[in-house]
Symmetry: C2
Subunit: 278 residues, 2 copies
């Protein structure tokens, strides 16, 4: 049975960085998140893929044990119209972990309402903060863990202070707020407690696309694997997620992640551990 | 005997933040750095103070055990003309620890040449990178530890990658490079090793002026106290320095630091330790 369920986009990205240009490479929040989660669990994707999605990309996901029963094929990639009447695949009805990656908060609410997850993680971005703030606040209210980046936390809560933003976010419902700070790592806030996870300093950053989704996916994968919702275990999940996100930035698309072994990941976690000792 | 010796400015700052405006309050890199160092050691200041510096400020420094024999009084604050012929006060000749805070790198070189310090720390800023890069590079070559903020490291070494910038910096002479990242903490680089110190998340940040100087001063003070130049001890120094810098940001001028006890500092270091555990 697939668990966690991951809602998000499947995309064909054209990306240009100082290190090169790539056209129509596999991307999208559900793709990065599911791929990261697959190191720890057997994720099921809820998404829409265009008929133009090359078969080799579907194979790449399936070969990592990612379930695609929740992926609808229609028109062109990113055609989400009408998705508000989504009907959850029977295959996913018993999933206990849900990651609502960055999509329209109305769709996040729809998908959430069709599962009875033990634990829901929600990510979002500035576009929804600006265009659908009220619905987004409602969706955040359904989540146990909110993941948001620092700039968006400041925007959503109207304060430059991350600690204040996190306190506000905690009043909306989630028991945990994770603020992503890119290369500077992440902060985990719960009532009265803060965990600071370092970023892994990269010399060979190539493309950070998908790092946030990789991070969220790794967390939900880790929790689905361990079934331990304690803050202590969530700290560990965040460090594993940081390690995976740092690998993801070392190449375009899934290129670095698809060559990764659990040994590589454990080794990087070990490096992060040593990097913090004093 | 005063040790460390701290070269830097004494200033009367007028500061406006969202939390208020203050006029002609005590500031300057030597002031913040010496005050921070005084928690661990007995610093001697090398600086120029204008005749307009109120006596109460001088008293505040003296009462913390800061030696002012190296402070010249002349004209108005910040009148550094002619300082290139500086003659080190006899009182400081035997000092073993030197912090060259952010001033003209020619003056940093002059003061360094008049001491035989066991360990020299150098800080700088964008103004000198733009106006006196060659002399600055020479001054960095005299330092054992370079402290620089992230934006300036990128500027000085012409790369967006901090790891690359730090590697370049290590080729100039220093055995350690510390990159300050403001609220995101600091990174310590030595050959093949990285230490990542978290920032202490503040809810009540009032004024970050002087945090970088506080940070550097605390490090040189800690090293002068412990006389242990190992990387392990430098990591500890950085965490104490982060703690002091976080206190400094909680009020204007020296207002928060002057009310601090060693117990307060130890407590914050303990919080930082817990914040990083996983």
């Amino acid at each position: 049975m697939p668990d966690p369920v991951i809602l998000g986009t499947i995309g064909l990205d054209t990306i240009e960085t100082p290190f090169g240009k790539r056209e129509r490479i596999l991307g999208g929040s559900a793709v990065y998140a599911s791929f990261a989660a697959s190191f720890f669990a057997k994720p099921g994707m809820v998404s829409i893929a265009g008929n133009d999605l090359p078969n080799k990309y579907e194979e790449l996901l399936k070969n990592k044990g990612i379930d695609l029963a929740g992926v609808e094929r229609r028109g062109k990639t990113f055609a989400w119209e009408g998705y508000y009447e989504y009907d959850m695949s029977e295959a996913y009805k018993d999933a206990q972990y849900l990651f609502l990656a960055n999509v329209d908060p109305e769709i996040q609410l729809t998908v959430h309402s069709q599962l009875r997850p033990k634990l829901t993680i929600l990510d979002t971005m500035n576009f929804w903060i600006e265009s659908k703030k009220d619905i987004l606040i409602k969706a955040i209210g359904k989540a146990d863990i909110l993941i948001i980046n620092d700039g968006e936390a400041r925007m959503l809560f109207g304060t430059p202070h991350l600690v204040k933003a996190a306190k506000e976010a905690l009043t909306l419902g989630p028991a945990y707020i994770i603020i992503k700070k890119g290369e500077h790592g992440a902060l985990l806030f719960s009532k009265g407690r803060i965990f600071s996870a370092p970023g892994y300093p990269l010399e060979d950053l190539i493309d950070p696309t998908g790092c946030g989704d990789t991070f969220g996916g790794a967390i939900v994968g880790w929790l689905a694997k361990t079934k331990d919702h304690s803050e202590q275990n969530l700290r560990k999940a965040i460090v594993y997620a940081s390690a995976l996100a740092s690998f993801n930035a070392q190449d375009f698309s899934l290129n670095r992640m698809k060559a990764l072994s659990m040994g590589d990941i454990d080794e990087r976690v070990q490096s992060i551990r040593k990097m913090r000792e004093f």
